[in-house]
């Protein structure tokens, strides 16, 4: 048996130093992924660096420009309960409220989930839809990455060794929030997620953003779809065309949550339902 060191640094710099000193150290946020992986012997870190005491990683607050900054250590449950999100930003608390089950929402954090980068999880698609920015700190300093450039593939993100997610910044999002999550049972991973926002008045779509999750290595968001829908009456044929474009663009696998063909089959209907819900 090898001993595993446990650290609980009081400030971000100390945490980064501990992670920089040992490439086999792992940061611990809510533990909803790290701990199961330890239990399954999928990871054997030499050290665990708890982020629990880092004040920089806490808080859900509005910035001057109407953006919302969510500390990486905020739990899904606290985000889901927050009333600070305005208009289309509400897709973020909606996504949080659909994650797994209450026990997991009470422990799991947005930063941990983003760093894990599982494409079937709920955050990647929501944050890509919201044009969120992922804030990162590491040995080389701090930087921000657009969500669309952060989630790169299966368990692959833009994080470099020694870096951690510190916050997620959600800019103002016009329109009404869209978050349609379809899964076998409520607490399962999603089979398909449609996330976004739309500003639809008198049947005319003034602005729209739509991203599809859990259907491939990265969330799919198509400018062509958003251009097609914007400025036009939302006729069923138009919506169906948009759904078909997305269905062709996704790259799902066959798995226990549904075949690739099934996901493509139901996506246009889910897109239509999502848009009808905010019309």
């Amino acid at each position: 048996m090898t001993a595993v060191a446990y650290h609980r640094p009081a400030c971000l710099d100390d945490a980064l130093a501990l992670l920089a000193a040992d490439e086999d150290a792992r940061p611990l946020a809510g533990g909803q992924t790290l701990v199961p992986m330890l239990n399954l012997d999928l990871l054997a870190p030499t050290a665990i660096v708890s982020l629990a005491d880092l004040a920089d990683l806490r808080g859900i607050a509005a910035l001057a420009d109407g953006s919302i900054r969510i500390g990486a250590m905020e739990t899904h449950a606290r985000i889901a309960a927050s009333r600070i999100f305005a208009a289309g930003q509400a897709l973020v608390p909606r996504a949080a409220g659909h994650i797994a089950s209450p026990a997991i929402r009470n422990f799991g954090t947005i930063g941990g989930a983003c760093a894990h980068g599982d494409p079937v999880s709920d955050w990647p698609v929501a944050l890509v839809a919201a044009d969120a920015r992922i804030e990162i700190a590491g040995p080389a300093g701090r930087r921000g990455v657009a969500a669309a450039d952060f989630f790169l593939g299966f368990l692959t993100t833009a994080l470099e060794p020694g870096e951690i997610v510190t916050a997620i910044v959600v800019p103002p999002v016009p329109g009404r929030a869209i978050h349609l999550r379809y899964s076998r049972i409520d607490s399962d991973y999603a089979t398909v997620i449609v996330a976004g926002a739309a500003d639809i008045r008198d049947g005319i779509c003034r602005s729209v953003r739509l991203a599809v999750g859990a259907c491939g290595p990265v969330p799919v968001r198509l400018a062509a779809v958003e251009d097609l829908l914007t400025g036009r009456p939302l006729e069923p044929a138009l919506v169906a065309a948009a759904g078909r474009m997305l269905a062709e663009a996704i790259d799902p696998l066959d798995d226990v949550r549904g075949s690739a063909a099934y996901r493509r089959r139901i996506l246009p209907g889910l897109v239509a339902r999502a848009l009808a819900g905010v019309a």
């Binding site: 048996m1 399954l40 226990v256 099934y262 239509a272």
Partner: protein, 756 residues
């Protein structure tokens, strides 16, 4: 209910407080001085020859005490076919099969050591489905099958571990005369037991070599007998004790890890605890038998059902275990609870290189009832009849005979259907309602009970019945209390322990209330008679003039004055006259079987089963047109329990059975990706959660069973069985599509809707 004081009341669980406060002790909570921890190495191959096992590296780790392999377990076992071994020897037959087990100072060390055991395999071709197993020249799962001892020794084709036929009347002639015949093939999947508590045991040997095994099990006596058989020891050297059991559902009716823990304890002379991880439990243990059911049912234009034929192929996995009995029971019950004169039921169980299939709540019934109850609706549709009406027209009644000739003594099926009809709402747009019935049995084999009156007049009730979480302890104590006129808190229910408890076959077959309840009634009645014997002398009257009075007192019937307490009587018995008062009783279910004058039967693996129990359910569903997902909004479950000893416990069994039936109907399916289970985790194998549950409306029907304790019979299994066909029938009622494959996944529903 004025008739009884304790029976019929929803008494709180005897163990409710300790469970609700987290103080109930399960195997994983138990410890002993010097405890070692076990871990198991699993096979990575579906079929392979074991060339060599090198345990040196594992044994060299400090703190590893003992490593055992198949060579340490020379005895074969198996209830119907002696094809099983406690650890794989020479061959592995499924991915996950235990190959080696070890004991070490800590659980982590044990796991680490298991990973150091090197096994040299020579991979062999595997058969992963019955189709592959039954193909000509298929690789044999058991090359030595011909040499195995078998209980039902009929000739069998290769890779078949059981084959049975049951027929009555002249099916072919009857079909030829039918006005309507429906025919189809139905497929059901591997459902995993998914008890909350994985399998576990703690074993400890004493200086004389007697080993005590605390375990999560359905029967301490099965554990005792099977461990003795596997280890080649007399049963008198094995003591099995029940821990609290966190669910079993049939998955713990045979031994699980007890033989491994016992062997490690005997070898190390240290107590050893072996509790499976969820991961190990999924990979090593059991599922329900996947089934392919071809069925044909015929009726006359007036709705009379006259003939049914079925051919059933079950996937038994790598070891036969209970497959003969599951098959036999499935075929016996496949007629359904209808007056169908002509039946021909044929079936076989194929060996495959998958984890073994086993008894599972329903025991072959859910598979055939899915087919049978779908076909009743298919006939109703063809005849333009209301499906519930058609069932009422054909339903069996008390006094009818079952297939084989057993008389149905009590039967509330018609009442269940009538109560269901009265409860159902009028048709609403977008909602479909489907109905399905269930017949099952409650009984099987033998059991016993001992009632001891303690010196102060309170009572210790001993049975061998392990409570799996359903509340049987409470129900049996209620039966004892009622028989003796005592309040429930004067009854001590003893933990099942082969050293002190009287024999019980198992908690299974929906039998504890009915069978053990009969033994408790008789034992408590004997204790009462002995109390009366003393009281007659003390009160100077005839024993026949005495009556029980509430609270443990005896008086003279019709004379309000003189009375004496159980305490006075028991003190006299203990200290002065006659000796302690003990009542005991043994019972065996002796009805049933096949009457050779009416039934032609070959290869039968079942004996005399039990009293028949009946129920009927209705499901109200909506179907999402976009995704095909079925949502069950309400489910009415009418079940005849003879008498509800504890109505809340009955409603609990109904809710639990419906939940598990909902999982079977809609979600649960252990799939395979080549030789490997594709979803052997709770992350990927989904049981329904709270948000998936419909509103469940239990309807308790009471047609007292003459032989049952206070008229009671079982409710453990039946509520699971009709859920899937009721939902499939509801979808058919709503959209006119007939789904014949479980689970009814959104993908399958949508494909059917697309085709329609």
């Amino acid at each position: 209910m004025a008739e009884f004081a304790v029976v019929g009341s929803s008494a709180p669980r005897l163990d409710g407080l300790e469970k609700a406060t987290g103080r109930a002790v399960y195997v994983d909570d138990m410890t002993r001085p010097g405890l070692l921890h076990g871990a198991v190495l699993r096979s990575a191959y579906a079929h392979a020859r074991i060339v060599a096992i090198d345990t040196a590296a594992a044994l060299a780790l400090p703190g590893v005490h003992c490593v055992l392999t198949g060579e340490d377990f020379p005895h074969r076992y198996g209830a119907f076919v002696q094809d099983e071994v406690a650890l794989a020897r020479d061959r592995v037959r499924y991915v996950g099969e235990p190959v080696a087990v070890l004991a070490a100072e800590t659980p982590a060390l044990a796991r680490q050591a298991a990973a150091l055991i090197a096994v040299d395999y020579e991979e062999l071709p595997a058969v992963m489905t019955p189709e592959e197993a039954l193909a000509p020249d298929a690789p044999l799962v058991h090359a030595d099958f011909a040499g195995y001892a078998r209980r039902v020794a009929v000739p069998l084709p290769p890779n078949v571990c059981a084959a049975t036929t049951i027929s009555e009347g002249d099916v072919d002639a009857a079909f030829a005369g039918c006005d309507v015949v429906v025919e189809g093939t139905y497929r059901t999947q591997a459902q995993v037991h998914c008890y909350l508590e994985p399998c576990g045991a703690l074993a400890e040997a004493d200086a004389a070599g007697k080993v005590t095994i605390w375990s999560s099990c359905q029967s301490v006596f099965r554990v005792q007998a099977t461990v003795a058989e596997i280890l080649g020891l007399p049963m008198a050297r094995i003591r099995a004790v029940a821990a609290k059991v966190g669910g079993a559902f049939g998955g713990k009716s045979d031994v699980t890890v007890q033989p491994l823990a016992a062997a490690l304890a005997l070898r190390t002379r240290r107590p050893v605890r072996l509790v499976l991880t969820r991961d190990d439990d999924f990979m090593m243990m059991r599922t329900r038998h996947p089934a392919t059911v071809w069925m044909k049912t015929g009726a006359m234009a007036d709705g009379r059902l006259v003939a049914r034929a079925a051919r059933l192929t079950l996937d038994g996995g790598a070891y036969a275990e209970d497959s003969s009995a599951v098959l036999g029971f499935a075929l016996l019950i496949a007629r359904g609870p209808y007056r169908i004169e002509h039946v021909r039921m044929e079936g076989r169980v194929a060996y495959t290189n998958r984890l073994r299939a086993a008894g599972f709540r329903g025991y072959g019934n859910p598979q055939v009832t899915f087919a049978g109850e779908c076909q009743i609706d298919e006939i109703a549709a063809r005849l333009g009849r209301d499906p519930l009406d058609l069932r009422l027209q054909n339903a069996v009644r008390a006094g009818d005979d079952w297939v084989g000739g057993q008389r149905i003594e009590a039967c509330g099926l018609v009442d269940c259907l009538e109560r269901l009809r009265a409860a159902l709402p009028p048709a609403a747009p977008g909602r479909g309602i489907g109905v399905a019935c269930v017949a099952h049995i409650s009984g099987i084999l033998s059991t016993s009970a001992i009632v001891r009156v303690l010196e102060d007049g309170t009572v210790t009730l001993s049975t061998g019945a392990v409570d799996l979480g359903e509340g049987a302890d409470t129900v049996l104590a209620q039966i004892c209390a009622e028989t003796l006129g005592l309040p429930l808190d004067r009854i001590n229910y003893a933990v099942p322990d082969t050293d002190g408890s009287p024999y019980n076959w198992s908690t299974g077959g929906s039998r504890v209330t009915y069978m053990v309840g009969r033994a408790v009634t008789a034992a408590a009645g004997q204790a009462r008679d002995r109390l009366f014997g003393h009281a007659a002398e003390m009160l100077e009257c005839a024993a026949g003039d005495l009556e029980l009075r509430p609270g443990g007192r005896v008086g003279i019937a019709g004379v309000p004055g003189p009375e004496i307490t159980f305490r006075d009587i028991s003190a006299r018995a203990h200290w002065a006259v006659g000796g302690p008062i003990i009542g005991s009783a043994s019972v065996m279910f002796e009805g049933g079987g096949f009457d050779p004058k009416r039934s032609a039967v070959t290869g039968n693996g079942i004996g005399k089963l039990g009293a028949f129990v009946f129920g009927a359910q209705a499901a109200e569903v909506e179907v999402d047109a976009v995704t095909g997902r079925i949502a069950v909004s309400r489910l009415w479950a009418a079940h005849d329990v003879g008498r509800a000893i504890n109505p809340t416990a009955v409603a609990g069994q109904i809710a639990g059975g419906v939940a598990q039936g909902l999982g079977y109907a809609l979600y649960e399916d252990l799939r395979f990706d080549g030789p490997n289970p594709a979803n052997p985790t709770l992350m990927d194998y989904k049981v329904p959660g709270a948000t998936e549950m419909p509103e469940i409306i239990p309807i308790i029907v009471e047609h007292p069973e003459p032989s049952g304790p206070f008229g009671a019979k079982g409710i453990g299994e039946p509520p699971l069985v009709p859920v899937a066909p009721a939902i499939a029938n509801a979808v058919a009622a709503l959209h006119g599509v007939r789904l014949r494959t479980l689970p009814l996944t959104p993908e399958r529903v949508l494909a059917a809707l697309d085709e329609a």
